[in-house]
């Protein structure tokens, strides 16, 4: 059959280009085709528009402070882009290979003529491509900056260079995690750790600095005292502060390039190896009671044997809760014990400055630190609780049983709470040093623990809720964190946008008191503790705890109703 002109035109670009072009095209099209990409982009552009509208000067200031404002605007948008880069790009990269492995399409890819390095490059370009599309989407908003005539083109290019270098690092961190790990959620978690190193890593950064100094290209002394000199964050801050040194700019690019190169090499190595089988498949059940007894008495990590035979589920108990606790939580008992010890060590060492400091603020900051860490970690434990049932293919069998929606949700929530519990228990154990050394007012400790508990339960409930909104774990994880940011940092952002002062003084009117009740539990605790040196429990703090506690219950109740509706229809 003769080929039509249209067919020939379509065939040419792929036919003439190396096979990698076909892979890039497929990856890019499938990334942009999804509703998730559109929603993310639309939301991001909307946020940028809000920022520009918010900061846009009135006529009086337009001519006087135009230059200053253009830099301010550019800085806000650049940091938004950097945030998007750190949040979205690693997640996209982290799911690129691991999901293909789950869908069993990765072997198809490996049997094509595309080399492993080609696969990595295609995934990298696709992931960075998403960031570029995001950048292009905000270009009309960004153009507003140039109406104010304050920004130099060279500075703009420098900012773009820093952002692009960071995008490549974040993407490579994600792809490396995707090649290393077998599960998407773990890969995403690993990718974010990689991003932390790319953004704030402190040890390997010294290598390029020393090399540059050795070759006499740059003067190390000029950079030594600049905080986060190697980091994109530090570089962007310096850029908009007009204090960016040329060597700092080069250092940032070199650091990101080095990070990318290391990740690329490690990914290439990981792709050459077969992924290790799951831990459980490698483990053999221990039937010898003597060995089991010995293992269970070896401190501290073998207290729990994940492969011990479990007793049958008793009558009248919630089977979902029993399953989650006996097989889910208990099978990860060793990991939870380790979490407790690691948590205890972190909390204990971070409590030392608070214990040595005679100011109550030190204790408050320590509690706030605990709450932030709990709020940052807990959503991840619950975000895949129901989506994994979809992904593994268990959901239909679960829906067919006589287990009620209430039993399913409560089982998942309680089990999620049990996973977060080691952190909280470690915090309580670590705080004993404070009690012994300073005899703080019990109200301060009580309010700290209560707010910490509220944060933990709220994070768990948000994770669970995110898990009900989608059928994909990676999407649920992103949603869980967006919800957590909205709830925990929302009031802070509102105060910032409306220029409201967070006054550390008792509320002087009913409206102020109501604002305190609606504040994030973390801010409410900090404000309550700092308004009174004795940390006595204020009505607005009690209101806040009650409000958020009730909010958690309402969210869980709503989740039960939503799950009940989901049970009656396919996702």
């Amino acid at each position: 059959m003769p080929r039509t002109g249209a067919r020939m035109r379509l065939a040419l670009p792929i036919g003439l280009a190396p096979p990698i072009a076909a892979l890039i095209k497929r990856e890019f099209v499938s990334t942009l085709r999804g509703l998730r990409s559109f929603v993310l982009m639309a939301l991001f552009v909307l946020v940028c528009i809000v920022v520009v509208v918010w900061l846009w000067p009135d006529e009086e200031r337009l001519f006087v402070q135009a230059a200053e404002l253009s830099r301010e605007l550019m800085m806000q948008i650049a940091f938004l882009l950097l945030g998007a880069c750190a949040l979205f790009v690693p997640a996209l990269g982290a799911t690129s290979i691991v999901v293909e492995r789950e869908q069993q399409t990765f072997d198809f890819l490996r049997t094509t003529l595309i080399r492993p390095s080609g696969i990595i490059v295609a995934k990298l370009l696709n992931t960075v491509g998403f960031f570029l599309v995001l950048f292009v989407a905000v270009t009309p908003v960004l153009s507003a900056v140039f109406f104010l005539f304050g920004l130099d083109w060279f500075e703009f290019v420098q900012a773009l260079g820093i952002l692009l270098a960071t995008a490549f690092s974040c993407a490579m961190a994600g792809i490396l995690a995707s090649a290393w790990f077998r599960k998407p959620l773990i890969a995403i978690g690993g990718a974010y750790i990689g991003v932390l190193i790319a953004m704030l890593g402190s040890f390997i950064l010294r290598i390029p600095v020393i090399m540059l100094t050795l070759f006499g290209l740059f003067r190390l002394s000029r950079l030594r005292n600049i905080p986060l000199a190697w980091s994109p964050v530090g570089a962007l801050l310096a850029l908009f502060d007009q204090s960016l040194l040329p060597e700092q700019f080069v250092l940032v690019l070199m650091y990101q390039a080095m990070f990318c190169g290391i990740c690329f090499a490690l990914t290439l190595n990981a792709l050459g190896r077969e992924p290790a089988p799951p831990m459980l498949e490698r483990m053999k059940p221990i039937d010898d009671p003597r060995i089991l007894h010995m293992r269970r008495h070896t401190w501290p990590y073998y207290l729990i044997d994940p492969l011990a035979r479990k007793k049958p589920i008793e009558d009248g108990r919630n089977p979902m809760l029993v399953r989650e606790l006996r097989w889910g939580v208990a099978n990860r008992g060793t990991l939870l014990l380790r979490t407790f010890f690691v948590g205890f060590i972190i909390w204990f060492f971070t409590s030392i400055p608070a214990a040595l400091d005679t100011h109550v603020e030190a204790v408050v900051y320590w509690f706030v630190f605990q709450m932030v860490v709990t709020a940052a970690l807990a959503p991840a434990f619950l975000a895949n609780t129901l989506t994994k049932e979809y992904e593994v293919g268990n959901i239909d069998m679960l829906r067919m049983t006589l287990i009620t929606s209430r039993q399913v949700i409560l089982g998942k929530v309680i089990a999620g709470g049990m996973v977060v519990l080691p952190f909280v228990l470690a915090a309580i154990a670590a705080s004993l040093s404070l009690v012994i050394m300073h005899h703080y007012e019990w109200e301060l400790l009580l309010s700290g623990y209560a707010s910490l508990a509220v944060c933990a339960v709220l994070s768990v409930a948000l994770g669970l809720f995110a898990s009900l909104l989608t059928t994909r774990s990676s999407t649920a994880l992103v949603l869980a964190y967006l919800l957590a940011v909205a709830v925990f940092a929302g009031s802070f952002v509102v105060r910032y946008l409306f220029d409201l002062e967070i006054a550390f003084r008792p509320p002087d009117n009913a409206l102020h008191a109501l604002c305190r009740c609606l504040d994030s539990p973390i801010i409410a605790f900090a404000v309550n503790a700092r308004t009174d040196v004795n940390g006595s429990l204020s009505v607005s703090w009690l209101g806040n705890v009650f409000l958020y506690g009730a909010g958690c219950v309402a969210l869980i109740a709503y989740s039960i109703r939503r799950f009940e509706r989901l049970r009656r229809r396919d996702a």
Binding site: P278, L280, E281, P285, P306, R309, K310, P312, I313, E314, D315, R317, P319, M320, V322, R323, W327, G328, N331, E391, V392, G393, N394, D396, M397, L398, R399, M400, T401, L402, I403, R568, R569, D570
Partner: protein, 309 residues
């Protein structure tokens, strides 16, 4: 008594009409083979019957219970095996079945004996202490069937249960389905493997583009569809004489000769067919084989469906 019944069942997904006015009756102890091309609406129908999906209109009943208004009651009497399923990590087979037993509210004192029974029925007794995540595809299939049988349901809905199984596992599965029929279960089974469906099922329903194009007893449908009989004739000698006799006999058409072997269509009754046999004998043809070819489910399927989705 109809144990499974649907009346004008319709399911629409936005612009796609997955099932259209489907009316079906499956009697007690029937093994009903539900066949159709990919995307014909088989899984959608089964999922509605399993209470996992709400129909856009129409009604469906299992043992007289409406699946839309009383899903909880239906779940007690239905065992559903989906086409794609997973297993829980870190659970042994006995623990896995114990979980589903508890989920179906089977008292603990009865549960152990029931688990032993279903393990024996599915030939998994030796695997009771193995982790389900380490099973092969065939074993997982049996494990899922064991889970489906745990609450002793009257009705079994099996969606593509034999897909991905090796030949031995398929034969074993076929025997298992027959055992279940002997135990008094009513089974609705969807599959693409038509030869096996022909062996297993006493009734079939053919669905295409969401509509039931044919349903009922397999042999009855075949009879309705075939206007003529297909005869196979093998002679030892006198093949030319046999060819002459066949050509001269009214009602004999489409004669296909290959050496001493003939295949032809005969629009004849039993008496005329016996007469033809006699004519061949008188013409000196020594007949080795004279048999009416039985139709297969594949023939029925190809004749009834148009090949679209």
């Amino acid at each position: 008594m109809a144990l499974i019944e649907t009346k004008n069942l319709t399911k629409r997904y936005n612009n796609l009409l997955a099932v259209k006015d489907l009316s079906l009756r499956i009697e007690e102890r029937d093994i009903f083979g539900f066949i159709g091309p990919n995307g014909a609406g088989k899984t959608t129908t089964i999922r509605i019957l399993a209470t996992l999906l709400e129909p856009t209109s129409g009604a469906a009943y299992i043992d007289g219970v409406n699946v839309v208004t009383h899903p909880y009651e239906v779940k007690k009497i239905v065992g559903f095996m989906p086409d794609a399923f997973g297993v829980y990590d870190g659970m042994r087979l006995r623990e896995y079945l114990d979980f589903f037993g508890a989920a179906y509210k089977i008292p603990l004192r009865k549960r152990r004996a029931i688990i032993d029974d279903v393990l024996e029925l599915t030939d998994l007794t030796t695997k009771a202490d193995d982790f389900v995540s380490s099973f092969s595809r065939g074993m997982k299939q049996r494990c899922c069937l064991a889970k489906t049988l745990i609450h002793d349901p009257k009705v079994l809905l099996l969606d593509e249960p034999a897909s991905g199984l090796d030949p031995r596992a398929r034969i074993e599965f076929r025997e298992l389905v027959k055992t279940l029929r002997d135990m008094g279960k009513t089974i609705l089974i969807s599959s693409h493997i038509l030869t096996e469906m022909g062996d297993m099922c006493n009734k079939i329903g053919i669905i295409e583009r969401g509509q039931l194009v044919s349903a009922g007893d397999f042999r009855e449908i075949l009879k309705q569809l075939r206007q003529t009989r297909e005869i196979r004739l093998l002679v030892v000698d006198g093949a030319d004489a046999a060819a002459r006799v066949l050509e001269e006999t009214p009602g004999v058409e489409h004669i296909d000769r290959s050496g001493n072997e003939f295949q032809f269509e005969a629009n004849l009754g039993h008496t005329e067919l016996a007469g033809l046999h006699e004519k061949l004998f008188k013409a000196g043809v020594r007949v080795l084989f004279f048999q009416e070819e039985e139709g297969t489910l594949e023939d029925v399927f190809l004749q009834v469906t148009k090949g679209g989705i």
